[in-house]
Assembly symmetry: C2
Homo-oligomer: 217 residues x 2
């Protein structure tokens, strides 16, 4: 009757000797991968996370952050005064989830064709599909992307891809200005940068190798 599960792997593990099931044990809970997506854009405070994840309740967010810290995905760090607040950031293990989110984004990109007026949007959410395309160029550097919804940057090259909110710390090698629709199409591979530029939907600046590669794509 009682059948007390003697301290299962997690609250509710699949208990399968399978790599994918093990991964889902760790990041399969609701909201977890979206929190990772947020933190891939850089360290975030609790309130920022709560603001950028509309719908998540405060207790669930707190619970997930604790779970993720226990799983070794994130660390909690106190900022130096005067902004004495906690920020959450990904560990190396957490950042290693980028390919998972990229694969999900690639698969889910077709669903961006319909956009509901109730949908939340943040600029850096467009980074994931774009990252795959830019990484495919085989060049290296930082691309700054300006959308109406905001601004983010993408860092590619050497298999060490990353993205972040706002401007990059270093000077970008190229600047991409376009609207969300064009950005989605490029991310889907339905529009090339060259076509977008020709149609006046995309502007590219940056005369280095990266800028040239972008215009040639």
């Amino acid at each position: 009757m009682g059948r007390t599960p003697p301290a299962a792997r997690s609250r509710r593990s699949y208990d399968q000797y399978c790599a994918a099931a093990r991964a889902l044990d760790a990041v399969g809970d609701r909201w977890t991968l979206l929190i990772v997506r947020e933190l891939l854009a850089g360290p975030r405070r609790y309130t920022d996370l709560h603001a950028d994840l509309p719908g998540v309740s405060t207790d669930v967010l707190a619970s997930r952050l604790k779970d993720m810290e226990r799983e070794g995905l994130t660390t909690r760090r106190r900022l130096p005064p005067p902004s004495a607040a906690y920020v959450y950031e990904l560990t190396e293990r957490g950042r290693a989830l980028l390919p998972v989110l990229q694969a999900l984004a690639t698969w889910g990109a077709p669903a961006l064709q319909e956009r509901a007026p109730t949908d939340a949007v943040r600029a850096h959410w467009f980074a994931l599909p774009l990252l795959r395309v830019l990484a495919g160029l085989g060049v290296e550097g930082v691309v700054q992307v300006r959308l109406d919804e905001g601004e983010f940057h993408v860092r590619v090259g050497g298999g060490a891809e990353s993205y972040g909110d706002g401007p990059a710390a270093e000077a970008p090698d190229a600047l991409l200005t376009l609207d969300a629709e064009a950005c989605v199409e490029v991310g889907r591979g339905a529009l090339t940068v060259a076509e977008g530029v020709r149609a006046g939907r995309i502007e590219v600046s940056g005369e280095g190798v990266l800028g040239k590669a972008l215009r040639a794509y």
Copy 2:
């Protein structure tokens, strides 16, 4: 008070204009990706799925299969008599989730180092991590894999990777015999086939290009 959600995208959508969030709307529910993993190994009947997914309740399995059909991930087909039963199989869209499961499996593979006695196992669950390694060889063909837990095959080459339970329909190009532990290590990249053969933990047969490539890895 009522706050009736006016027919959201799904039961509980994230309502975010983000490719990854859209993907999680479709496959983020508990058990869904594991059902996909099962169906990637070939068509399955309801009872088979229920038997190979210990812990899933009957109603949740039925509900997921309906959701997945509605999302266009699966189709339901009636087998010809006398085995007149329904089988579920993936659509093209469903099979396109393979990269997602591969990314998850790659990330989750380190967690296979600890194996609980309560963990369920199926032979073809080892296919996912292995697929990545074999696809990296750059050769093409079918590898039959024999474990103590059972037998499965993987098909690589030309970007059209797949795997299946039991023997392949066509004659395999190579046969790999090893134990689960060695299989996991190869999938993690912690053991090469050549090392495994030298240590007597792996046997490779098949004299074609694929067999040679395997032994050379």
